[in-house]
C-alpha cells in the first residue's frame, strides 16, 4: 500500500465531521477537565507547565542495547511519572499529557484567581526540579544523572478529550498551550512568561531575571531554585517539601517494579501498543516522525465565538483522522500520540537489518502526510487554507512503553532521535520536511534526493514535497525518455521499466503532424 490521492479523498469524504456534535463552554467550578466527554471542549484559563527531563532519551543510548540497563530506564521513567503525579495532586494540578520525557500539565485552579494560579505553577516548577535533582537522582544514580527544566506560560486555551484507541487523550490548543514548552531555556532552569512573572510575590520574583523573547513573549528565567537551598522561601510560601519522605516513597515505587518482572523485547512485528505497559516494553530501530499543523494555533487564538471553535475542532478531527490513516493505513507506521495539533509517530517496519527500507517508509509517510494536507485536506479548509504541515524526521533506536494507570496509559517513546526529530520539526516551516543526515543518506531514489537541500545545521530540507509533485517530475522525465505508458482501466500513468514485458501497457507511439488533412486520415 502507498499513499493515493483518490483513496485519501474518499477517506476524507467518508469521515465527514461537518455535523459532529461539539459542546463548547467555559471551564467552571463544577467541571473537571479530567471528566470531559469526547464532545466537550472547554475554554480554560490557566498556566501551562512543561517539565522536561531531556536527557532521559540519552539513557537509551547509554544502555548500548543492554537489556538490564534499558529496563532500568523504563523503571525510572515509570517511577518519575508516578512521583510527578503525586506532586500534581498536592497542588490540584491537572496533567494533560506525558510527551516522551516531558510532562505537560495545566494549572487551572483556583478558577478565578490568576495570581494564585501563577504562584502555584511556579511553586510546582520548583518542586518538580527539586524532586528530580535532590531526590530522584539519588535513587536512580545507577541509571543516569538526570537533568530537568521547566517552562510556564499562562493564558486561555481550549482543552478537549480527543482520545483514540479507547484511551482518554487530552489535548490543549492555543498559543499558550505550546508556549510553555518553547520557553524552556537550559538545564536546571525555570522559565516563565511575563504574564506569570507579573503575579509572583517578591520572594519568588527575585530569583528570576529577564531573558529572551520567545514567539513574541518576554520570558524570565531562574537558574536552579530548589527548596532544599531555600527553606525560608518554602516556609514563606507554605510549601512542605520533605526530601526524605519523597525518597522513601520513590524507593517504594522502584521496589514495586522489580526488573525481573519487566519484559523488554525486540519488535519483530508491528508493535501492539495496547499490549504495552511498564512491565512489557519494546526496543526497536525506528524512524521517528513529528508533524505539526503550522497555522492552526493562529486560528485557535482568533476564535472568539463558539461556532468558530466548533468549526476548528471539526477541522482538527478531520485532519487528525486523515493523517492517522496515512501513517497506519497507507504505510506500516504507528501513531504514538497526538500532542495538541501535532502528530508523533514511528516507523519500525520492516524490522531487522532493513534499515534503508524503514527510512524509505518513514520518508514516504512524511511525503504522504504533506500530500494529504496540500492536495486533499487543504481543499476542505474553506477560508483556512494557510494551514500547512511542518515535518521533522530522524532515525535511531527507541524504547516504546506505556506508563500510567489502566485506562489512562500514555505511550512513551524514548531515544535520542525522539528529541532530534522534534528539533527538526520545530525548525521547519509549513510545507517543509526536514530530515537528518542519516535519513538523507539512505535515499536511493535520485529524484527524491534532489528535492532536499542541506540546511545550515547539517540537516536536509524539502519545501512543498508531495507525491503529486514527485509524480509530475518523474512522469515528465519518463515522457521525455519515451518510457511513459498508461493503464486503460485505472486511468493511471505508469513509468515503464526498461526491458520489462508488461502486456497491459504499450510503449507510446510518436506523435506527428501532417499539417493538413490531405492524407485523408479521417
Amino acid at each position: 500500500m502507498a499513499w493515493d490521492e483518490q483513496r485519501a479523498r474518499q477517506r476524507v469524504t467518508n469521515h465527514d465531521f461537518s455535523d459532529l456534535e461539539v459542546n463548547v463552554a467555559d471551564l467552571s467550578r463544577e467541571m473537571d477537565f479530567h471528566r470531559l466527554g469526547t464532545k466537550d471542549v472547554r475554554r480554560v484559563p490557566g498556566a501551562h507547565l512543561y517539565a522536561d527531563v531531556s536527557n532521559f532519551h540519552d539513557a537509551v543510548a547509554d544502555a548500548r542495547g543492554d537489556a538490564q540497563k534499558l529496563k532500568k530506564s523504563v523503571r525510572a521513567a515509570s517511577v518519575l511519572r508516578r512521583a510527578q503525579s503525586d506532586l500534581l495532586r498536592v497542588y490540584e494540578i491537572g496533567s494533560i499529557q506525558l510527551q516522551a520525557a516531558r510532562l505537560h500539565c495545566l494549572v487551572y485552579k483556583p478558577y478565578n484567581d490568576e495570581a494564585e494560579r501563577a504562584v502555584r505553577a511556579v511553586v510546582l516548577a520548583v518542586s518538580l526540579n527539586s524532586y528530580l535533582y535532590d531526590v530522584f537522582n539519588d535513587v536512580f544514580s545507577d541509571v543516569r544523572d538526570f537533568e530537568g527544566a521547566v517552562g510556564v506560560a499562562a493564558g486561555e486555551s481550549l482543552v478537549a478529550n480527543l482520545g483514540f484507541r479507547g484511551e482518554r487523550e487530552l489535548i490543549s490548543l492555543g498559543s499558550c498551550a505550546n508556549l510553555g514548552a518553547k520557553v524552556i531555556n537550559g538545564i536546571d532552569t525555570i522559565t516563565i512568561t511575563e504574564n506569570v512573572y507579573a503575579f509572583l510575590p517578591d520572594a519568588l520574583r527575585e530569583h528570576f531575571e529577564k531573558s529572551r523573547t520567545v514567539a513574541g513573549a518576554v520570558t524570565y528565567r531562574a537558574i536552579g531554585p530548589r527548596w532544599r537551598e531555600r527553606p525560608r522561601l518554602a516556609e514563606a510560601l507554605g510549601v512542605q517539601f520533605d526530601p526524605e519522605r519523597l525518597k522513601k516513597r520513590t524507593e517504594e515505587y522502584r521496589d514495586a517494579l522489580p526488573l525481573a518482572d519487566m519484559e523488554l523485547s525486540e519488535a519483530h512485528v508491528l508493535i501492539d501498543l495496547d499490549a504495552l505497559s511498564e512491565r512489557t516494553s519494546k526496543r526497536t530501530s525506528a524512524v521517528v516522525l513529528y508533524a505539526d499543523l503550522d497555522g492552526f494555533t493562529r486560528y485557535v487564538q482568533a476564535a472568539e465565538r463558539d461556532e468558530d471553535i466548533v468549526s476548528l475542532v471539526r477541522i482538527l478531527h478531520m485532519i487528525r483522522t486523515e493523517l492517522h490513516a496515512v501513517v497506519e493505513q497507507d504505510y506500516p507506521g504507528l501513531v504514538l500520540q497526538h500532542q495538541g495539533d501535532r502528530l508523533f509517530a514511528i516507523v519500525h517496519m520492516p524490522p531487522g537489518d532493513r534499515f534503508d527500507k524503514r527510512c524509505a517508509n518513514g520518508l514516504a509517510i512524511a511525503t504522504g502526510l504533506q500530500s494529504s494536507m496540500e492536495h486533499v485536506l487543504n481543499t476542505c479548509l474553506q477560508d483556512r487554507k494557510d494551514i500547512h504541515l511542518a515535518v521533522g524526521v530522524d532515525v535511531g533506536t527507541v524504547l516504546v512503553t506505556r506508563l500510567g494507570k489502566k485506562g489512562a496509559r500514555e505511550v512513551v517513546c524514548l531515544g535520542p532521535q525522539v528529541t532530534s526529530a522534534e528539533g527538526l520539526q520545530l525548525r521547519s516551516a509549513g510545507r517543509e520536511i526536514r530530515i537528518s543526515k542519516a535519513i538523507y543518506e539512505s535515499i536511493d531514489d535520485e529524484t527524491l534526493k534532489r528535492q532536499f537541500v542541506k540546511d545550515n545545521q547539517s540537516a536536509y530540507v524539502a519545501k512543498g514535497l508531495t507525491f503529486p509533485k514527485l509524480d509530475e517530475i518523474e512522469e515528465a522525465e519518463a515522457a521525455q525518455a519515451g518510457m511513459l505508458a498508461a493503464e486503460a482501466s485505472t486511468q493511471r500513468l505508469k513509468i515503464e521499466v526498461l526491458g520489462s514485458q508488461r502486456p497491459t501497457y504499450r510503449v507510446i507511439p510518436k506523435p506527428w503532424w501532417s499539417g493538413c488533412s490531405a492524407h485523408g486520415m479521417a
Binding site: E5, F467, R506, I508, P509, P511, W512, S514, H519, M521
Partner: protein, 191 residues
C-alpha cells in the same frame, strides 16, 4: 457501406468497451455518416493525482479497420490551449497522435480501443506538459519543447517512420493511415 452498418457487432463492442474505459460516454453517427464515440478521459498520476479530464471524440473512418485505417481523435475540451510550434494538434483539433503505420496496435482486434486509449492518455499528458511549458515560456523566455521524441511535420515525419522501419512495401497500406497503397499515397511525395 458505412462502417457501423457493415460491422454492427464490432460497433456494438466498441461502445461497450468505451463505457468501461471512459466516462460520460455518448455514441452516435455524425452528419458525414461516420460512427463516433464521445467520452471523458481522466489522466491520473501514479499516486492518483488528477492532472486533467479531457473530453475526446473518437471518429471511425469508413473502411475501418481495413488497409491501415485508424480512428481519428478530436479534442472537444481544452480549446483554449495555445498553438505552439510543436503542438501536435491540427486546426480542427484533431490529435496528431501517431504515425498509424508504426503504432503497432492491431485495430482488427476488438480490444484495440483500450490500447488506443492508453496512447491517447500518454499523448494528452505530453500535450499537457507542453502547454504548461508554453505558458511558463511567456514568463521565462525558455521556449517550450515537446517532451520526448516526435515525428517531423508533414511528409517528413512519414519519411522518418519509413526509414526507421527500414523497408516499406510499395503495395502495403500507406503508413499515414489514408487506406491507400503506399505507392499511391506518400511514396511519390517522399520522392
Amino acid at each position: 457501406m458505412e462502417w457501423h452498418k457493415a460491422a454492427p457487432s464490432r460497433w456494438q463492442s466498441e461502445q461497450e468497451l468505451a463505457h468501461k474505459l471512459l466516462e460520460q460516454v455518448e455514441a452516435g453517427i455524425d452528419d458525414q455518416g461516420r460512427a463516433f464515440l464521445l467520452g471523458t478521459v481522466r489522466i491520473l498520476s501514479r499516486h492518483g493525482h488528477e492532472y486533467a479530464a479531457f473530453r475526446i471524440r473518437i471518429v471511425y473512418p469508413n473502411g475501418f479497420p481495413e488497409r491501415g485505417r485508424v480512428p481519428a481523435i478530436y479534442l472537444e475540451s481544452h480549446r483554449n490551449w495555445c498553438k505552439g510550434p510543436d503542438t501536435h494538434i491540427e486546426e480542427d483539433w484533431k490529435l496528431c497522435l501517431f504515425v498509424p503505420g508504426e503504432v503497432g496496435i492491431d485495430f482488427s482486434s476488438p480490444e484495440s480501443l483500450g490500447e488506443l486509449i492508453q496512447c491517447i492518455k500518454v499523448f494528452l499528458f505530453k500535450e499537457y506538459l507542453y502547454q504548461r511549458d508554453l505558458i511558463n515560456g511567456i514568463l521565462t523566455g525558455i521556449p517550450a519543447v515537446w517532451p520526448g521524441q516526435a515525428r517531423s511535420h508533414g511528409i517528413a515525419g512519414i519519411r522518418e517512420a519509413v526509414h526507421e522501419r527500414g523497408r516499406w512495401g510499395r503495395n502495403e497500406a500507406c503508413p499515414c493511415g489514408s487506406g491507400k497503397k503506399f505507392k499511391r499515397c506518400c511514396l511519390p511525395k517522399m520522392r
